[in-house]
């Protein structure tokens, strides 16, 4: 099929970007979306132009590196699918496709479609873990955990940290990402000793990074390639209010 691509080009973090148009021919339905961009880039290099920079790594939907806003939708038209697993059979001959980076103040553009998501690492560093040193653990089966709790914890833990939730949110909120981590440990007894400290510190960091507030649009859940539920945000809020009341830091 023949397509017209409209792609965000931005040479550096400081420079002003713009949408550029590229025709592409010979795309087949079996190609992945990123393979289609590989083909475009090979053509650009051969004709002496600078290729489009975009981020990718595993190309099997688990590392969370890739992420493009395709026709205005984070990760494109197919539900529960990261950009790297989107295939060209979702498009048809003659289509015009717009491709943009994640857009959020907290995710500055590095080049073209590549953004800096280090804000997520800083949120995790404030409490996205259970504090236990290597070698201090007791036997794994000494602490039974009900299957349902373990499964719920797992569901929250499958977040790949791609940032589609932020990119799709009108407020650029990181609530789904942050709450998924908090929720994972809320379901587990191991998470109990630090639960208040965890939620207070992670939420504070989320705010300091410049992410917006959640106002229940639900776009994050719709865009999430792993189907992380918005109920995690409710859990985070409940945990936050409890912790803030207890510590006397609740700000209204």
């Amino acid at each position: 099929m023949n397509l017209t691509l409209k792609i965000w080009r931005q040479p550096s973090p400081q420079s002003k970007g713009s949408m550029e148009t590229y025709p592409i021919a010979g795309v087949t339905e079996h190609m992945s979306f990123l393979e289609m961009l590989d083909v475009l880039n090979e053509q650009l290099i051969k004709s002496g132009q600078v290729p489009v920079e975009f981020d990718y790594d595993c190309r099997e939907g688990i590392c969370g590196t890739c992420g493009l806003v395709i026709n205005g939708v984070a990760h494109g038209p197919k539900k529960l699918t990261a950009t790297c697993q989107l295939h060209m059979r979702e498009f048809k001959d003659g289509d015009t496709i717009t491709i943009e980076p994640w857009r959020a103040d907290a995710f500055p553009v590095i080049k073209d479609l590549v953004v800096d998501r280090s804000a997520f690492d800083r949120i995790v560093s404030k409490g996205g873990y259970i504090s236990i040193n290597t070698g201090n653990a007791r036997d794994a089966n000494e602490l039974p955990i009900g299957k349902e709790d373990a499964d719920q914890s797992f569901d929250a833990a499958t977040c790949i940290g791609c940032g589609a939730c932020v990119a799709s949110c009108p407020n650029a909120s990181a609530s789904l990402f942050t709450s998924a981590k908090i929720s994972q440990y809320t379901y587990l007894p191991q998470g109990n000793p630090e639960r208040e400290r965890r939620v207070l510190k992670m939420v504070q960091q989320m705010d300091e990074e410049g992410f917006g507030n959640c106002s229940n649009h639900g776009e994050c859940e719709a865009a999430c390639p792993k189907g992380i539920s918005i109920k995690n945000i409710a859990i985070m809020r409940r945990e936050y209010v409890k912790a803030a009341l207890k510590s006397g830091t609740l700000l209204v």
């Binding site: 079996h30 259970i130 653990a137 089966n141 191991q190």
Partner: protein, 652 residues
């Protein structure tokens, strides 16, 4: 081809004593750094996958200063994240007779007797601690209704010892290790450097004392000093271009260490996984694995005749049109005892044979069927969906075909590399102070890795081995000033790297980096792939250096050397693959036997199985760089089997 130069034999520094007591004896007798002195040492950790993140967090907890580097935009994205199936541990929670000994034995046998007994036994011993550690970290492993941990079975074992978190075990384990490392980052003990690629190791007075790094975001070349370097940069499967590895997985950090004096061991030992989604076209950029667990219920087949296969390929008939009598369930036919559950190397080779006979089932003729029709009839669709639903969805997302209605098409793909930097029992390379962990080293899997053992080894090395062995090394070293990179070795290295980059940028030829990589990959796959011959390997040895020369004279790298430039990044990796590929071919040529993933057609049993030659090749081939990539020196480490009896593997 000139004769291979043979250097001195090398020793693995294996502690004395009976095998079950070696590790404890070792720990009781090593040097230890006083807690107050640990903070004077800085450890540079390259790579933040399971091995790197677990080492970084454990060492920081002990009090060392750690600098951790990764090529990704976040340490959480290292390719360990993609491991699906599970992690082995000799917990014996199932009461099915598992033990440290049995895990040790299975791993040595599964590796076709080409691994080091003492290392494997230690791995089996600490496996149980890994599960405890990960559960304490909040890794949500699968559990039974009683709240206890669930297990499943994997290839090459007769017990259920695999712990798992649905099909995302690697992700959950890595996020646990990453969290532990981020906790130390918050405490100021780990500094994290993302978008950083190691391009050189700095050797001062014979010891590793620093690294040269390229900042992939800004293009700057940076120097870091430290008291030791831990290489945790993964395997080199992408030398084949198409593999199940992540696109950015590469051999550069390890290869640059090799060129500075670290021996490279058993480079030809690569694992080809039998169940991957086949190549669909020339634009293909990577291959996706479908979990080994599918072979529990799926039946592998191709048409009995070439003619039927041709009709299939032309689309004249559909798979379901082929009568039972016209199908060849070749694994069940050839291996009645193990059937579809033969080990990975055997399953892969047999898929190649039937496709070579012209019986492949997709347009390219390079695919076989994995059919669930019988399982659906026997168990019902719901039960099959319960077991494999997420894998079927992934298959449909990629291929557009529904595996409930038509058989899956699968083909083998490069998945893991058992070879890597040579290390001794301490995980130390031949450069003192440079350690290699996880897939980057060679030590535990011999010629074939068993399923669910890669995660175990990465975490064993990082959490439970290197914190001891590194301490023993550092106890004998005076701490360096980590902010001082004034030693001339740093500047020499930076100048060399800048010169290499400028040279690459200046070529401005006609072929892209991707074209060279793809071409190398095809040669590697054809000559150093699933099935190798002396003749094919000689072709590889002749053609790879030519391709390398062409690369340096005809590659085109767009853009600028400073700032973000993916093509330049890739070009430097491909330059190294073009050297490593030749060493792999040479290693395969030198090893006149078949073992595990290394199958030489000249050496097979009358039934077509791998024929080892224990008298002549029961050794680790550790290659030393000589200054010319075509003329490395071979050092042999004799493998001694005091505990496991060497036998011919049979799966009939």
């Amino acid at each position: 081809m000139s004769e291979i130069k043979i250097g001195d034999a090398i020793q693995g520094h294996i502690p004395d004593g009976e095998i079950a007591k070696k590790w404890d004896n070792y720990k009781a007798n090593i040097g230890v750094v006083n807690p107050a002195n640990k903070r004077k040492y800085t450890v540079l950790v390259i790579g933040t996958g399971l091995a790197g993140a677990s080492a970084a967090s454990s060492l920081a907890e002990l009090g060392y200063n750690v600098k951790a580097f990764c090529i990704q935009d976040s340490p959480r994205r290292a390719h360990s994240i993609a491991a699906q199936g599970g992690i082995n541990a000799a917990k014996n929670y199932q009461n099915d007779g598992d033990s440290t000994w049995r895990l040790f034995y299975d791993t040595v046998k599964g590796g076709d007797y080409r691994s080091r007994e003492a290392n494997v036994h230690r791995l089996a011993q600490v496996s149980v601690n890994i599960i405890d550690q990960c559960v304490a970290q909040g890794v949500p492993f699968a559990r039974d209704y009683g709240g206890l941990l669930a297990n499943r079975s994997f290839g090459g074992a007769l017990v259920s010892r695999t712990f798992y978190a649905r099909g995302q075990t690697g992700q959950q384990l890595l996020l646990g290790a990453y969290g532990a490392m981020m906790r130390q980052a918050e405490l100021g003990k780990v500094s994290i450097f993302t978008h950083r690629e190691m391009l050189d190791v700095i050797v001062v007075d014979g010891h590793a004392k620093g690294v040269t790094i390229r900042n992939l975001k800004t293009g700057e070349i940076e120097s870091y000093a430290g008291d030791a370097v831990l290489l945790c940069s993964g395997g080199y499967g992408n030398v084949y271009f198409l593999s199940t590895n992540a696109m950015n997985s590469n051999a550069t950090a390890a290869w640059r260490c090799h060129k500075k004096g670290a021996y490279f061991a058993n480079p030809c030992f690569t694992q080809i996984h039998p169940t991957c989604i086949p190549v669909s076209g020339e634009y293909q950029s990577k291959l996706t694995l479908m979990s080994e667990s599918l072979r529990n219920d799926g039946r592998v087949w191709v048409p009995k005749t070439k003619e039927t296969a041709e009709k299939l390929r032309k689309g004249e008939i559909r798979p379901r049109d082929i009568a039972e009598a016209d199908r060849d369930y070749y694994l069940e036919r050839r291996y009645p005892t193990f059937g579809n559950l033969v080990p990975r190397d055997v399953a892969s080779r047999n898929a190649k044979y039937v496709c070579d006979e012209g019986r492949g089932v997709n347009e390219s003729g390079l695919a076989v069927f994995l059919d669930f029709a019988d399982a659906i009839n026997r168990l019902g669709r719901d039960a099959v969906e319960d077991r494999y639903g997420n894998l079927f969805e992934m298959y449909e997302r990629i291929t557009g075909e529904n595996p409930y209605e038509t058989p899956m098409q699968i083909f083998p793909a490069v998945h893991y590399t058992m070879g890597g930097l040579w290390v001794d029992y301490d995980l130390q390379t031949t450069i003192p102070g440079l350690f290699a962990l996880g897939e980057a080293n060679f030590s535990d899997h011999g010629a074939n890795r068993l399923g669910a053992s890669a995660l175990m080894q990465g975490l064993a090395d990082g959490y439970f081995v290197v914190p001891y062995t590194l301490g023993d090394y550092l106890a004998k070293q005076k701490p360096v000033n980590a902010s001082d990179t004034s030693h001339p070795a740093f500047k020499t290295s930076v100048d060399e790297i800048k010169a290499q980059m400028e040279k690459l940028m200046a070529v401005n030829g006609d072929k892209t980096v991707l074209e060279f990589h793809r071409e190398l990959g095809l040669k590697m796959w054809d000559y150093v792939g699933m099935s190798r011959t002396a003749e094919g390997l000689q072709k590889a040895l002749a053609e790879i250096p030519k391709l390398r020369e062409e690369f340096w004279n005809n590659v085109r790298i767009p853009g600028e050397g400073d700032g973000w430039n993916k093509n330049l990044e890739m070009a430097m990796r491909v330059a190294d693959f073009l050297e490593l590929g030749e060493l792999m071919a040479l290693d395969a040529f030198n090893r006149n036997e078949s073992c595990g993933g290394h199958f030489r057609e000249e050496y097979q049993t009358p039934e077509g199985e791998a024929q080892r030659n224990d008298d002549e090749y029961s050794y680790v081939a550790a290659w030393e760089y000589s200054g010319n990539p075509s003329e490395p020196v071979l050092h042999k480490e004799a493998l001694q089997f005091d505990n496991v009896k060497l036998t011919q593997r049979s799966y009939k």
